[in-house]
Symmetry: C2
Subunit: 528 residues, 2 copies
């Protein structure tokens, strides 16, 4: 498949005339061909009009049709073969194995949502049958199902050019819910975006769906994204990126004549609590495992564990020493984009400038001294500093970690209470630590979307029980998740049908249950 530099608007490929954009190799800073044409308001209008026109038909496709469409996209991604991986490598600087794994994850997400769609539980079919003889008055026949919200705007994320981008989790869950999707491509991987976009475009056509089910827009700066979120046809927004970017989209969405929900995943420092038993058992091994997680993917995960809390003392000192050695041995590596690299440099300088924060180690630049390469960084500080200096709560996106000396569990709990919302919180513990863990857990439940024991938060399973979300500012809406089966819920709303003749009811609600979906009837689950 050839990369042409065009936008994909419904069934067409359209060359943008407003700007010329270039894909960049972040390692060298050099340009990658071809030149991309950036669009603007006219292309937003065209994509959104097509999405609106496609909506009523697409949302009423059968469960099987919708599931098949998702599987077809998954197959198309696999069929792209090495070309997709090579282009993503060139644009993102991420290693081949990581991108192959990410493709597997992306394909797995699409297939998970295909199974979720087929299962039909997401429809929440609920039926309260009429009670004609009720006193003082008849109860009508009430039937509820979920319907799709409408066309969704998805913003590709820089750090997962496949799994959180054009055919990533937001797109998969929105398409699964019955929402057409208009993607704004991330400028960090324009060629990858086009390749994946063409796979979706081809799947739309192959499945006989209305062309407006999918479009891919490219544009310079923020204007095209602002126009997209402002467009009246758009009914929800999916975004993974910076706090500033997410909050800007929230403001635009709230200022519309009809405000719409924004699901923005923004920032998290993912605290790790080392409880005394676990710390005493094997501090060196724990330190090595943590450093490995911290620098994984050059620290460019939303779930990067950037803050480690331990009780000051000999065991934590051993942890610190081992972490210092381990991180000092980690090579610098190229970050996703020059902009991300420069933000990382500023973040490290910010930490260096905080009174009470000490630099313990930097990674080596021996293996990679290219300008886009980031050197890992390790700092230590005290609980008092964390509680008084807000800089320590701000995410430094990249391989930088801070070790925090606490006096005791009570002070750890104080810090946990002080922290903003997080995607994850991690406990390292042994059986001897359960009493301490019980002091922390209620706070962590209020602060985080996922709580882990004796692991690290990088590596987010795509599963039914996953939550990749969390209270503000981890996300703009802590009541939802962007990974896992539950993500379909973001793009749904309930509608109640009262006393409709069976012939006018949607299939899912008809008395004979022709779709064979799970149903709750008069408050009781039908069948299994």
């Amino acid at each position: 498949m050839k990369i042409t530099g065009e936008m994909l608007i419904g069934g067409a490929a359209v060359r943008g005339q407003l700007a010329e954009l270039q894909a960049i190799d972040p390692a060298s800073g050099s340009s990658l061909g071809p030149c991309f044409g950036g669009g603007g308001a006219a292309e937003v209008e065209r994509a959104c009009a097509l999405a609106a026109a496609a909506f009523d038909r697409y949302r009423e496709t059968t469960l099987e049709q919708r599931a098949h469409f998702l599987e077809r996209i998954a197959e198309g991604l696999v069929d792209l073969g090495p070309a997709l991986i090579e282009r993503a490598q060139a644009e993102s600087g991420l290693p081949k194995a990581r991108l192959e794994g990410e493709r597997g994850r992306t394909v797995g997400q699409l297939r998970l949502f295909a199974s979720v769609v087929r299962d039909g539980r997401w429809l929440d079919v609920t039926i309260d049958r009429a009670l004609p003889d009720r006193v003082p008055g008849r109860r009508p026949d009430l039937r509820l199902r979920n319907v799709a919200l409408g066309p969704v705007a998805v913003f590709g994320a820089s750090n997962f050019p496949l799994a959180f981008s054009v055919a990533g989790g937001d797109t998969a869950s929105a398409l699964a819910a019955g929402c057409p999707v208009v993607v704004k491509a991330h400028p960090g991987h324009l060629g990858t975006s086009e390749l994946v976009g063409r796979v979706i475009q081809a799947a739309v056509q192959a499945c006989g769906l209305p062309e407006g089910v999918f479009s891919l827009l490219i544009g310079e700066g923020n204007a095209i994204g602002q126009a997209l979120v402002s467009h009246p046809a758009i009914q929800a927004v999916g975004f993974t990126g910076s706090r500033a970017g997410g909050l800007a989209l929230c403001r635009i969405a709230a200022a519309r004549p009809q405000p719409i929900p924004v699901f923005a995943e923004m920032s998290s420092i993912n605290p790790v609590f080392l409880l005394p038993g676990a710390l005493a058992t094997a501090p060196e091994a724990l330190a090595q495992a943590w450093v490995d997680s911290l620098v994984l993917g050059v620290g460019q995960f939303c779930t990067n564990p950037g803050l480690v809390l331990g009780s000051a003392g000999p065991a934590f000192d051993r942890f610190k020493a081992a972490a210092t050695t381990a991180l000092g041995a980690k090579d610098a590596a190229v970050m996703l984009t020059p902009g991300i690299h420069s933000a990382y440099q500023s973040g490290v300088q910010r930490l260096q400038g905080v009174a009470g924060v000490r630099e313990l180690a930097r990674g080596t630049s021996a293996a990679d001294d290219r300008p886009g390469a980031a050197q890992p960084a390790l700092f230590s500080t005290t609980a008092h500093t964390v509680l008084t200096r807000p800089e320590l709560e701000q995410e430094v996106f990249g391989p930088a970690g801070v070790l925090v000396d606490c006096e005791d569990i009570a002070q750890m709990r104080t810090i946990a209470e002080h922290l903003e919302g997080q995607l994850t919180a991690t406990l390292h513990l042994t059986d001897a630590d359960h009493a301490e863990a019980r002091q922390l857990l209620p706070v962590l439940e209020r602060k985080a979307g996922r709580i882990l024991v004796n692991g690290f938060p990088t590596g987010v399973e795509v599963a039914h029980a996953m939550v990749h979300g969390g209270p503000f500012p981890a996300t703009s809406d802590g009541r939802s998740t962007s990974v896992g089966a539950l993500a379909i819920q973001r793009f749904l709303r309930p509608v109640c049908y009262q006393d409709l003749p069976d012939a006018l009811l949607p299939g899912a609600l008809r008395e004979g249950n022709p779709l064979r979906v799970p149903r709750l009837i008069d408050g009781k689950r039908e069948g299994g």
Copy 2:
């Protein structure tokens, strides 16, 4: 039970010192004793601090404890006997039978949520067991449950002094979810609010719950409500009232350092579509039934059917003539508050002033010429006027209706597309109208939370399948409902527990299922 004019803050009764507020009999405009003391920021702080302190313990009460607490409140309301109804009558001007019905509804809501809590489905327990031997890596054990959002601010509504007020739907669903509640009393029924508040306060004590589970605040103007929504402890807001009031709360909530969700039910004109077959069958009876619904409760329902669309012609002319006669025979009646009455008068004048709108009838003032009494009003206009004059889309809260001449079903569909979000949309049809109905239904699904056939939207069943919500501006969040079992979902968020030892898991997630709640295990429903 004596009304003292005090606020209820946790277990205490506190006399506000910032203002003196008086309950008013809307029929006469005269004051009702006693004098109420209005509070401010200090009382907000105290109530919110108590709510925050109560939260972790309250949200982990057993399902049975929580259900029993809700039932205890229900019993307490019944035990108040005629005193509650008499006070509510005096403060709201609503008739005795209506308030008795509303008490029944309020008690029914509390009992429904007790059954919802016991059932445990709301926890959404989802378990993906570990796959230790998976290649390339082990899948961890993942367990998801819903947890309560945190303390909730509830604003009492004027038009349901029992069912949407201190112990109304928002309070019941928030308490069911495990959220402490701080209610801001509606100034239109201060005494009723205190009576009900004291019932909840007593139930908190009788059930041995932390006192901060419930507080009731009173204040002059908007300041106390603004302070409440701004307080960092508050994690969600429930509101039923005007569009201006709801939007103001949304702005305050979005401007917080940590934004929070606002569930505001604001305004709806609840269109009624008369399809040709139904209109031809019995236009006079249909007109009478519609007028009865329009003036029910002096038109003070969120679901009041204010806009009727029919195809111009002899049958619709007969409907109009019958509606004119029926409405002309309806008596004026006292509205809930002087402010609501004056807003109704302005709304009717606004309609009278629109070019292309004709007044067909006014109700009679013979039976009730008191200053707070509203005369029903009936207008007619054309589809063209509706499509060009935004005044016709604005809710006139009260017994005013507009009949709209449409050319055909296509024009009805155009109007449906043109309308803002609605709580309800109604179709009157016969078997001969199914083709026309199929043209309208996809649009109505996008516009409304509930679609009815051959009925009227006033009268909202409390049931599992009910949706009392809808796209903006019907509500600020069309993904939820304020009536029915699903309302508990507003106040929940999912948390995933990864690899927690069984002893540290919340009861709902333990391997042995000690709470006997329904579970989804590896994507399959366990048991029934």
